[in-house]
Amino acid sequence: MNNLFVYCEIEDNIVADVSLELLTKGRSLANQLKCKLEAIVIGSRLDGIERQIIPYGVDKLHVFDGEKLYPYTSLPHTSILVNLFIEEKPQICLMGATVIGRDLGPRVSSALKSGLTADCTSLEIGSHEDKKNSIVYENLLYQIRPAFGGNIVATIINPEHRPQMATVREGVMKKEILDENYKGEVIKHKISTYIDESAYVVKVIERHIEKAKHNLKGSPIIVSGGYGVGSKENFKLLYDLAKVINAEVGASRAAVDAGFAEHDRQIGQTGITVHPKLYIACGISGQIQHIAGMQDSSMIISINSDANAPINQIADYAIIGDLMEVIPKMIKYYKKNSK
């Protein structure tokens, strides 16, 4: 009772990275709260799935294994979570801010009349004093997220309602196996206890998934372009540099909106969050929305013709100049000096 739960999302029987990241975060929050970390996994043919989950420090894993539970549809997964939470009364439930988490989370929170905060970038434990009613709440989950288009950061709390629910975007938290031999309990639940047959109303007819064309999230070096790159044609230069220094290419929202780069390369609050070793920002002015997705890069180099561009303030090196001139020089001197 009153434990911390993480909903583990799966695709082809592989637990999503975001879920593993949440298990690591959940473990440390559970330690602070002195409660147990429990996980839920729902899908079909899940034999051995615990080997992917328990090592993150999970004390109890709830497995729901049934033919009709994969691919994900809203009602059956909602029904499981709602009924399980009525029994288990968790104090916190975390899930990925993914297509699935953002479909499932609100539905579960509505059914339980509990609060849900979307797309958190940080989670902490803290207290809150309600001065009006002189009540002090201890050990609340601070759900910290950007709001208002990324222009402010809000700390949200759910003082009265449980579970305190939050979704977190992929790549924001770090995942780390706690102990390969961690001892956790695995419970295989009977599906029919939790789901009524009538919940299977939506049928998935067809799925087309292409393997990701890039590995932006995992790449140690990222060359990223903004509106200042000027055209799709000019973006090729970024690919040239990326190829030479073994990097991936990212883009700001403005560049994606302008059609210079594909949507799935967008970095920022409404795209991917990255923390590479080196981030080269080309023609990116540095709007808050973009910075939110890359500020944790170990080193930032900006290339911008505008010396006053905000990106320069967070850059370790600000190259003031025309990127059409600077990038070829970088390629040239890399080739010259790397051998």
Binding site: D119, G149, A154, T155, I157, V201, A212, P310
Partner: protein, 292 residues
């Protein structure tokens, strides 16, 4: 053969957070909403387009815009009418103020119950002032309906079943569900058609009671003779809302703190595009193994 569809479009008037200028924040760190233009939430326009396409395809279908907000949010209903919607309701009451997504969904669900006759409830995936994507699924849950989120395109409706293509990571999923249903539409779906000049003429003077009062009922006869110009405003009692579940009191989440984003300026080194400076930088990056 499909029946005439009753479609409710959920739309929100939002501050345009994509174009935040210098005056957007007040000195005390709160948001200066007045400095930001109020617009039709972009993904709600994508949703309206999907509704309009259904209306094109299934003759006799009607589109109702439902919006919640202050008096001026009636602009959203007019914008919808200009693009082809048939009518609209503005849900407005001080009791709704300060609502989080759960209290918002409750109010919208009560209004939809009052509308009563619906096959499809459709809205944008999320609004750009909150980016939560929660209201659609929560409205669905409150109405006991299923949902299809991240919709890209409504493919067809047959025998009270709807087929929808939806956006999933790295691809597209085609799903089929029963009517009535709640659908939320992704920003990558087709853009909304522009205003129709004839409809702009027709609905230019469509006003709510509050707006007419401000105008001191200048065109009283007009509104008597042309009922389609009267936009309905509903308050919490009109939709039989329980005050305890509305607005701030109906919101389980509370804002504890708001912080302006201030990025810590680093000690940065400025260099020019001169050959020597670029080469020195590259050599330094190679030497400390950042690259290569």
């Amino acid at each position: 053969m499909t029946k005439e569809l009753k479609i409710v479009v959920l739309a929100k008037q939002v501050p345009d957070t994509r174009n935040v200028g210098k005056d957007a924040m007040k000195e005390d760190g709160t948001v200066n909403r007045a400095a930001l233009p109020a617009i039709f939430n972009p993904e709600d326009l994508n949703a309206l387009e999907q509704a309009l396409r259904l209306k094109d395809r299934y003759a006799g279908s009607t589109i109702t815009i439902l919006t919640m907000g202050p008096a001026r949010a009636a602009e959203i209903i007019r914008e919808g009418l200009f693009r082809g919607a048939d009518n609209g309701y503005l849900l407005t009451d001080r009791a709704f103020a300060g609502a989080d997504t759960l209290a918002t969904s409750y109010a919208l669900a009560m209004a939809i119950r009052k509308i009563g006759d619906y096959d499809i409830i459709i809205g944008g995936r999320q609004a750009i002032d909150g980016d939560t994507a929660q209201v659609g699924p929560q409205v669905a849950e409150k109405l006991g309906l299923t949902q299809i989120t991240y919709a890209e395109e409504i493919v067809k409706i047959e025998d009270d079943r709807i087929t929808v293509k939806r956006h999933i990571p790295g691809g597209i999923e085609t799903v089929e569900g029963p009517l009535p249903i709640v659908i939320t539409v992704n920003g990558s779906a087709a853009a909304c058609r522009p205003r129709n000049a004839k409809l702009v003429q027709k609905y230019k003077y469509a006003k709510t009671q509050t707006e007419k009062a401000e105008n001191q009922l200048k065109y009283a006869d007009l509104y008597k003779n042309r009922d389609y110009l009267n936009l309905a405003e509903w308050n919490v009692n009109d939709v039989k809302g329980d005050i305890a579940q509305c607005g701030l009191s109906g919101s389980p989440t509370k804002v504890k703190a708001i912080q302006n984003i201030v990025f810590q300026a680093k000690e940065s080194k400025t260099i020019t595009s001169a050959d020597k400076e670029i080469e020195d930088l590259i050599v330094e990056l190679l030497n400390n193994h950042t690259i290569g």
